[in-house]
């Protein structure tokens, strides 16, 4: 695997697109470009081709994890004495573009994006004006689909530093999944199990390299597990012996994401044979797809590896979603999905989920296992394997 540095990849992208610079403000874009986790989600980044990146941070932003090597420019968002900080931000942005010698007509940005990461400091969306993107776009180059696509391609191959960060997110997630296994006892409520997992993850805050750690655990048991292919939520239902229990777990550590699922049977009683068949088939499908992950593998073939097993087990119509997607800068990264017929190929440095599932309402249960898998030069590394 080429040991690429992110700054080199960004400047290579800019040069290929004949751009003097790039503007980003969505949290996952800033994370990709600088490794920085924004807190208020009102930061903005200007990344010139020939100078260090310039990060515009609001007056209120914490100052203890700003990106090393970037120029930091404050603007007065959150300053009680400033009625409208955005004209000031735009003026400072124009100044910085000029200062690097860049031509504003050769600065690009991503116009389209919807499924970004959340603001981490508050229980609501980013407080940017709804037309913020349009306001910034009016300052720079016309929209270019080619440049936008090339920028989105940057999300697919992770650098060694990013892989380390996503590995850390998976290690923290596994601490949560240990708590899941301990909490799945008859009589426990789904929401109690979810709380145990989220608590175990949050407790890693400020432990070792971790300065931000948050999990979103969604636990579905018994008949609710059959809804695991549609939506994820934890209810007040109490686990019973003989249930399948499914957890969908999103974990964000220092800005980087893991996306995992586990399904376990609740003892002490055995699973009913038909649920055991669902469970076993989902595990075999998972194993088949994992073994198909290697550099050069076609995404549709990885999907087929899982789907064929499910089909042969007689559950074809109950595997109702993709086999996987890219992950790391978001809970769901941009890029191709691992679905029937997908022609894209896996390459070293990609991190994808592998998550076949089977959900049979008539049988009162569903099962899915989801791993996060790094494509290596030689094959694969399961980042979410215990001890991994």
């Amino acid at each position: 695997m080429a040991l690429s540095r992110r700054p080199d990849l960004v400047r290579e992208f800019l040069a290929q697109q004949h751009l003097d610079g790039w503007i980003a403000w969505r949290p996952d874009e800033i994370l990709l470009l600088t490794g920085h986790l924004t807190r208020w989600n009102v930061s903005l980044l200007f990344y010139p081709i020939n100078a260090p990146p310039v990060l515009f941070v609001p007056f209120l932003e914490p100052r203890d994890h700003l990106p090393v090597g970037a120029k930091i420019v404050e603007y007065p968002w959150g300053d009680f004495d400033c009625a409208d900080p955005f004209p000031i931000l735009k003026a400072r942005l124009a100044d910085e573009i000029r200062a690097t010698g860049a031509s504003a007509s050769r600065v690009g940005m991503l116009h389209r994006s919807s499924r970004g990461t959340l603001a981490v400091l508050a229980a609501e969306n980013s407080p940017l004006p709804a037309d913020f993107g349009d306001q910034i776009a009016a300052m720079i180059a016309p929209r270019s689909a080619a440049a936008e696509n090339a920028f989105l391609d940057l999300f697919a191959i992770k650098t060694p530093e990013e892989i380390a960060s996503i590995r850390l997110a998976n290690r923290v997630a596994l601490i949560g999944l240990d708590a899941f296994e301990r909490a799945c006892v008859p009589g426990a409520r789904e929401i109690e199990v979810a709380i145990a997992v989220e608590s175990a993850i949050a407790l890693q805050t400020d432990v070792g390299e971790v300065f931000y750690s948050k999990g979103w655990a969604m636990v579905q048991s018994g008949p609710n597990s059959a809804e695991g292919g549609m939506f994820n939520r934890s209810t007040g239902r109490r686990l019973q012996s003989g249930d399948l229990v499914l957890i969908e777990l999103a974990t964000c550590v220092n800005g980087y994401w893991s996306d995992l699922t586990r399904t376990i049977p609740v003892g002490p009683g055995p699973l009913r044979p038909e649920l055991q068949r669902v469970f076993d088939a989902s595990r075999r499908a998972q194993s088949a797809a994992l073994h198909a992950v290697r550099p050069g593998a076609v995404a549709g073939d990885v999907d087929a590896a899982a789907r064929d097993v499910v089909h042969q087990a007689g559950f074809a119509s109950f595997f109702t979603h993709h086999t996987g997607h890219h992950v790391g800068f978001r809970y769901h990264d941009p890029g191709f999905s691992i679905v029937p017929g997908a022609t894209e190929t896996l390459a070293p440095g990609m991190i994808v989920t592998i998550e076949p599932g089977i959900y049979v309402p008539e049988l009162g249960g569903g099962a899915r296992t989801e791993e996060n898998v790094l494509v290596t030069g030689a094959g694969r590394e399961i980042l979410s394997a215990p001890g991994g």
Copy 2:
């Protein structure tokens, strides 16, 4: 207080704006118009003036808390066999507009909105296309600032049913704040205190009338409490005797929001006298502002009631934010803020936060108390008072 029903208020708004209907898709807008908590945040509502509202829900949406009295129309978002569900949604929307006899050129919507509520089912933003609003807008009436402002005005006065729901959110939040008081012991980490609070709130899921309950607790202790006026987060710092500990707590119950803050000293040792003065002044400011809340009170006067106390205590430059804002459909509702010079007046049915704060880095501490206060016909009711 006029006992208004929300449907009457919505139809009155439409009639005054000479509109045949209104379209909404942001979660807080749909909550306002129908009381419905969307899960995937890809639902869309058409509210005609002369027929029941039509809620377009994705294939994947849970079906157990859909709004009573609304027409439900499914569209295939999340259906693995559907490549692009949005043209189908738009076609069905056009059909429903026609079916009510509405003229599309007399249907309005809110174009501008940025600080909405989060998606509750997933750890990321709504998966709608970034230009979704523009696509819908192209189908209906031209943009009208007057109609948008009138729609936003609908958020300010809550109906009796909504007040009951926001009271419930506050009662659940108080369960979290009880956990906060118990958890604030020397040696506890900020993140542990936050987890205790969030867990207590989540445990209310499916208890009594509560079907969704989630808290976001941000705990800042000792010197970190002096940053409480800038941002909110929980770190790994351990509480010490003599600390001030501040919690900022957002709580969402069944879609409705509470926004509370408490500050308490950690025993067994006493507060240093200078921190005691900060604490006492913040409490007196809080009490003064609360007593100023009544129907007809001018928002700027409520702010002055708090700010004068802080000024007289010698901390004027350390009260760095508003005294309050509307709350209930969001963590921060649209509408006027309670700030210096604000000329708007309080009216029965409004619910506002009252939250003066004092943060003095040089003294190593800060303090804020935040209540949610209903303006009544006679004066006020503190929804966040214990036993309230």
